[in-house]
Symmetry: C2
């Protein structure tokens, strides 16, 4: 490796930037809320702020929504059949990169299924490369979040993937409409478990009404509704993947890692939890090697 | 029949009041937006406004959310096993009825399933009694709306029912979050049909992401997203009830009646459409007989 690298994970609402020295050593790390929504219309300026003082001659890799049609510059989707290990050969140069800077966008992936179903990811492909670099080349990888992804890998190649609007629905239902008045702040493990169990009992539009039905009939305290709803939404992902895989790689930290770990065990699956930050750094190191070659 | 009757369908956001003469003849009809949310805290005053000038000696029947815990006065749920035809014997007198008025609340129903699942309805029981009075005593009755209900009747007795937050989710997703920017005003029949077809391909939290995935990959015009989403949400109700019943009674009018009729045909089911207003009036006539006896 001849040079260091700057890596930016630039999402819709958040941004994290990493300065990696030669050999992939982490030198510095920055995080802010200058996601797409905040930086739109002034990407160049916002970019300069996050890399200020970092070596101009080191290449910059940006992944996430920054490469969407609504981002700084569109990096067209790769087909799911493109091996993750070849990602470094498909990086897209940013046309209006600041003078002296070499900036490359990591493209997202799209998958078109046999019945015409379509799915897309942008940012998660980098996490998947990191998981691959950390030894997860086969089986199911789950990337929980606003838009959870379930990806099946075979020797580092996606065999298809599915997005679930789990985090987004959880937030929407907690803020607006019928359930908003019920869903409180408490985390109640047994209510989460009950939600996981009920997730298989019909369409999500039906099971989520159960939050209200159980509360108004006095069969569940309102304080349990939040965890029950979380169990229903996360459980729906697992119901979709029946029979549950024997092991599943979960890229998550904190409460999300606990919840998905719990859901895995509930379904008789063994979770292998990888920390998202470590996974992203592993992806950067892997891409760095690819650029150098 | 010795007297006329006043019937009020008092929901969360809307209210309709009917003045029925002896023999069930409709004399006058009023509608306003003084639903629960608007009338809370001043129910008596709001009530007087809608019945102004109507005979004080005629009984008033109120159904819907007005009898919820959050309404004027709670009318406790009946068990699903209570025959609809006995509804007139379970009416709950309003304690602080205006002087000289006899006001009765129609109670809602609750259902507790064999696996502990719980569901509730309030207002729909009156519609079901109306459907029964119009000859629909057996089979599936669907009451589309903000909270769609699927009810299986056997000789006028509910064998269980399910609520789907179809209308609420459709509104929420059109107003907030990822899909809000995509879902436009257009109705596109072939996109609705495509949504019905895709509804069976996984959890709703996954299939609805398809709206976005199809648009950003150029496989569906954004103008189709609204109808596609509608097809996914309505289709999820049908997928839950597979195999589809041979016939299904749909209590709906206008666009909703068309959509559910279309969904029924898509699933090889014959829809029998009943107009909600006619159904409510039939219910009032039926309750009027019960009160008279």
């Amino acid at each position: 490796m001849k040079t260091g690298l700057i890596g930016i994970d630039w999402g819709t609402t958040h941004r994290r930037a990493y300065l990696l020295g030669e050999g992939g050593v982490l030198l510095e790390e920055r995080a802010d809320d200058q996601g797409l929504l905040a930086a739109r219309g002034r990407f160049a300026e916002s970019f300069e702020a996050v890399v200020r003082g970092w070596p101009r001659e080191w290449p910059v890799l940006m992944s996430g929504m920054v490469g969407a049609a609504s981002g700084w510059q569109e990096a067209p989707y790769l087909e799911a059949s493109t091996p993750l290990t070849s990602l470094s050969r498909h990086l897209v140069p940013l046309n209006d990169a600041p003078p002296g800077r070499r900036v490359l966008l990591v493209p997202g992936y799209r998958w078109i299924g046999p019945s015409g179903e379509v799915d897309v990811m942008r940012g998660e492909e980098t996490q998947l490369l990191g998981a691959l670099a950390l030894g997860q080349a086969d089986g199911w990888v789950v990337l929980p979040g606003t838009h959870s992804k379930w990806v099946r890998l075979e020797r580092g190649v996606m065999q298809g993937f599915r997005t679930y609007m789990t985090g987004e629905l959880f937030a929407l239902l907690g803020e607006h409409g019928t359930l908003a008045g019920i869903v409180g702040p408490e985390d109640v493990p047994e209510a989460f478990e009950a939600g996981l169990l009920a997730a298989g009992r019909g369409a999500l539009s039906h099971t989520i009404f159960g939050c209200r039905a159980k509360v108004v009939t006095g069969r569940m305290p309102a304080a349990h509704a939040r965890s029950y709803l979380s169990g229903l939404l996360i459980g729906a992902e697992w119901v979709d993947t029946r029979p549950a895989p024997r092991t599943v790689t979960v890229v998550a930290a904190g409460a999300l890692a606990s919840a998905y770990g719990e859901a895995a065990r509930h379904h008789g699956s063994t979770p292998v939890v990888l920390e998202p930050r470590a996974v992203f750094l592993a992806a950067l190191a892997s891409l760095q090697e690819g650029i150098d070659r």
